[in-house]
């Protein structure tokens, strides 16, 4: 069972990660590079040193590797969630789990922390990371309580869990972005779309590969 889960997560994450990396290459990465031009110009004006650590092909390769790692992680988390809740693992159901995960890690978190381009005003990183994680976990648990538990008390707890993190949302930094607002708006939308596709694809492929493996195991 463990080997089957790991194989499924690895293959699904690898394929989904490659597809999302290609998508990033044409959607979010050009916006990040454009924002860095504005950021570098500002730094040059201030006399500070700026510049990306990686560039060209090595940067694309590193980004793709990180995206594949995240996608394998997403696929494994979705498989674990379906196993824990006793669901049958199938493509359509797994994609729905992915959609709910996107609501938790994408939609809920972007209310308090909009997706950011380099060079945008920002507050302390650790506080933002803690809020992001807590919000994703609370929203995920809240959605599970709302959609999968039957008692009215559980549904109330679910709504509270979804709403609660937003009372503690991080204070936004004073706006001082070097990137134009139009660029930032396009990036926020593209980033959410890319994240939605990552979760849905990781889920659907995990379901599909799980099913293919069970067909292979059946005696013919």
């Amino acid at each position: 069972m463990i080997a089957r889960v790991l194989t499924t997560g690895l293959i699904a994450g690898l394929v989904a990660g490659l597809a999302v990396a290609a998508l990033q290459h044409f959607t979010t990465t050009p916006l990040i590079l454009a924002a860095e031009v504005y950021e570098a110009a500002q730094h040059a004006h201030d006399g500070a040193d700026a510049g990306a650590a990686l560039s060209g092909l090595s940067r694309t390769a590193a980004t793709s590797a990180a995206t594949i790692a995240v996608s394998i992680g997403y696929a494994l988390i979705l498989l674990a969630a379906m196993l824990l809740s006793g669901d049958a693992i199938a493509p359509r159901r797994a994609a729905l789990w992915g959609a709910c995960a996107f609501a938790a890690t994408g939609l809920a978190t972007s209310l308090g922390l909009a997706p950011q381009l380099p060079g945008m005003a920002e507050t302390e990183l650790a506080a933002r990371q803690i809020w992001w994680l807590a919000t994703a976990l609370c929203t995920g648990a809240g959605l599970f309580a709302l959609l999968r538990l039957d008692s009215p008390a559980a549904k109330i707890v679910g709504v509270v869990l979804i709403a609660l993190p937003h009372f503690f949302a991080p204070q936004p930094a004073t706006p001082e972005s070097t990137a134009p607002a139009e660029l930032a708006a396009r990036f926020a939308a593209a980033s959410l779309a890319v994240q939605a596709i990552s979760w849905a694809l990781a889920g659907a492929l995990a379901g599909l590969i799980w099913r293919l493996q069970s067909r292979q195991q059946e005696p013919s």
Binding site: T29, A62, T67, A69, V70, L83, G106, W132
Partner: protein
Amino acid sequence: MNAKLSANAAALPSSRLEALKAAAVALTLGFGLVWLAGFAYPKSVHDAAHDTRHALSFPCH
């Protein structure tokens, strides 16, 4: 506590127990990978994952 846990484990059918074990391994590995690519602090990890962190709206910088 331990006695209660093992009593519960004994009451579970072995297939369910196996599924729970696999889920625990998958969850740990999955969170580990997302943590490494999306949150970890070392500069080399941050630089390599930089564009992915921004693109998938993880908090960055």
